[in-house]
Symmetry: C2
Subunit: 337 residues, 2 copies
């Protein structure tokens, strides 16, 4: 079942069929109708491989997600897919593990699928120009920027929150409520990633308030998953219970931390307040509801697509967009004032 069969069936040449199929103007209505009819009768479906082989460029946009099953990404992925299809493009989703190198994955995906552009979700923060050299298509980093790398600002696009500032804002909220002994739960203080950035925000907030940094209140889980977060919180509790609030760098980690605090005999928020950043669905259903700074996940996904397509279609150059978070006032923070 090829274009040739359709051509025979409708009594025209293959090029005419091709024209009809690709919405080219120079086809008479009569012929167009006839061809479309043959297509329907024959249940003809174009062979994409043949198409891709011959077309200079595809309509594929890649979305490389690092960290399978990270709940924060779900809503973003949905939004990206929707925006991509609405624009008439196809989304190619590729999930990789945290250990994997997303630039390598992206480069081979780009080659394999002839991608027009790329969105990276949850990547590293320290790309070098050498590493991105293999990527000869525009790309936008979604939910992160190249904070620790040496990429020129003009070499890529991004849409993200100001991680350091937002973390600072979260901690300052705790301080405003009278908390002085504030612990922090993070992946690592120096992972060159979101964790390190938000840790900086934590320190900045303390500094501004004149609170000295107490290293014993810094809990490193070594990973972003809930199991690690739970254990990290337990270790913190073994070390000290001399804190009234906990700032967690992500919602999902915060959910696990809440559990650890409760299992450790602490009531939330009576004995320990907790605040986080992300705003995933699940943290709406903790008891008490998690107080958190919500990232506008859907808007970020849509914006990433907008930026990318502006580049792909040469409407605009690269750009970097900062979005704001929204405070969700749950019941997990108690005022000491």
């Amino acid at each position: 079942m090829t274009i040739k069969d359709v051509a025979e069936r409708s009594g025209v040449s293959v090029s005419t069929v091709s024209r009809v199929l690709n919405d080219h103007p120079d086809v008479s209505d009569a012929v167009r109708t006839r061809v479309l009819e043959a297509v329907r009768e024959l249940h003809y479906v174009p062979n994409n491989s043949a198409r891709d082989l011959v077309r200079p460029q595809s309509d594929a946009i890649g979305l490389v997600v690092r960290g399978v099953g990270n709940p924060f990404f779900s809503a973003v992925i949905r939004a990206v897919e929707e925006a991509v299809s609405r624009a008439g493009y196809t989304m190619v989703l590729h999930q990789i593990n945290t250990e994997d190198n997303e630039l390598l994955a992206a480069a081979s995906l780009a080659r394999a699928k002839k991608l027009r552009g790329l969105i990276l979700l949850g990547g590293c923060f320290d790309y070098t120009p050498e590493q991105t050299a293999a990527l000869d298509i525009p790309f936008v980093c979604c939910s992160f920027t190249n904070s620790f790398g040496s990429l020129k600002k003009t070499a890529y696009s991004s849409v993200s929150i100001d991680d350091e500032a937002e973390a600072c804002r979260a901690v300052e909220m705790l301080i405003r409520e009278g908390h002085r002994k504030i612990a922090v739960l993070l992946d690592s203080t120096c992972d060159h990633s979101i964790s390190e950035l938000r840790y900086r925000g934590y320190r900045r907030a303390l500094e501004r308030a004149g609170i000295p940094l107490d290293r014993s209140l810094v809990a490193e889980s070594g990973d972003f998953d809930m199991a690690a977060a739970y254990k990290g919180t337990c270790r913190l509790l073994e070390r000290t219970r001399d804190f009234t609030a906990l700032f967690v760098i992500s919602d999902s980690m915060a959910v696990a931390a809440m559990k650890a605090l409760r299992d450790g005999g602490l009531r939330i928020p009576e004995d320990c307040s907790i605040i986080a950043i992300d705003g995933i669905d699940m943290s709406n259903y903790t008891v008490p509801t998690l107080t958190t700074l919500i990232q506008p996940q859907a808007a970020m996904g849509a914006e990433a697509v907008r930026i990318l397509l502006d580049m792909v279609e040469d409407r605009a150059g690269n750009r970097h967009v900062r979005v704001d978070t929204t405070l969700r006032l749950g019941g997990s923070v108690r005022s000491l004032n």
Copy 2:
């Protein structure tokens, strides 16, 4: 950068390069080494479109997931991807919404990507032979079976738990602990899906124990997501509080239900016990930990791939595998005895 460049670079013909790339036997070691070297130096990546165009069949296995962001699927997807790649195949993931028809999506994906086989995750339970006729490749239903449809058992494969029996088991556990007034939270009693099956199990357990069905204790949320589950539970509470336990058909719904119960002033498990089925990561971190029947998600994904590849490679015909759940004893069930 084509196979031709590699051929020139290594001083052989394109066919030889092709042979090396496809692990054909009749190539001298010397030539093979030389070609591989050229490949590396040139960073050559085969053009998949050209490959697919010429090859009678691809190495692609499709995974169609219905219900984006359903946390239960994450672990399954991971397992499928791993098993597929380990077997030397490529996984093509396609997510669709609950409203979308996965058979249509699957059929067009199969055609477009020349799929060898298909795994359906979270599909419908009522396929008819006519609907699956378009699918001319083997497929296996993962985490569900065609319980309400008219498919011949030999027309497809499946790996799933015995939803009705497991639901019955969960409810019987509540009964064994002395509960008689047991509510149930589900999507719908007649959605021809997992919800209906597990509802049957609920009724069977009551029946066996001689407990009459009380329709006022049946809460239909109308959807599987947490927001719907929360609202459904609230409506239940408005109607009646005369129950000591709640069986929820899925973990994620149970998490939302727990919140609703708490918000309604009920303590868990003192005022209301709760049990569910699924065993997703998140339900490990509720307070108290959710008591649930864990589906072996990773094993199910791996098994689905095994079955499918057995069919694809003609090692075996179709088969239906039933797996067992494991009880996770959380703290959400209280004994009345």
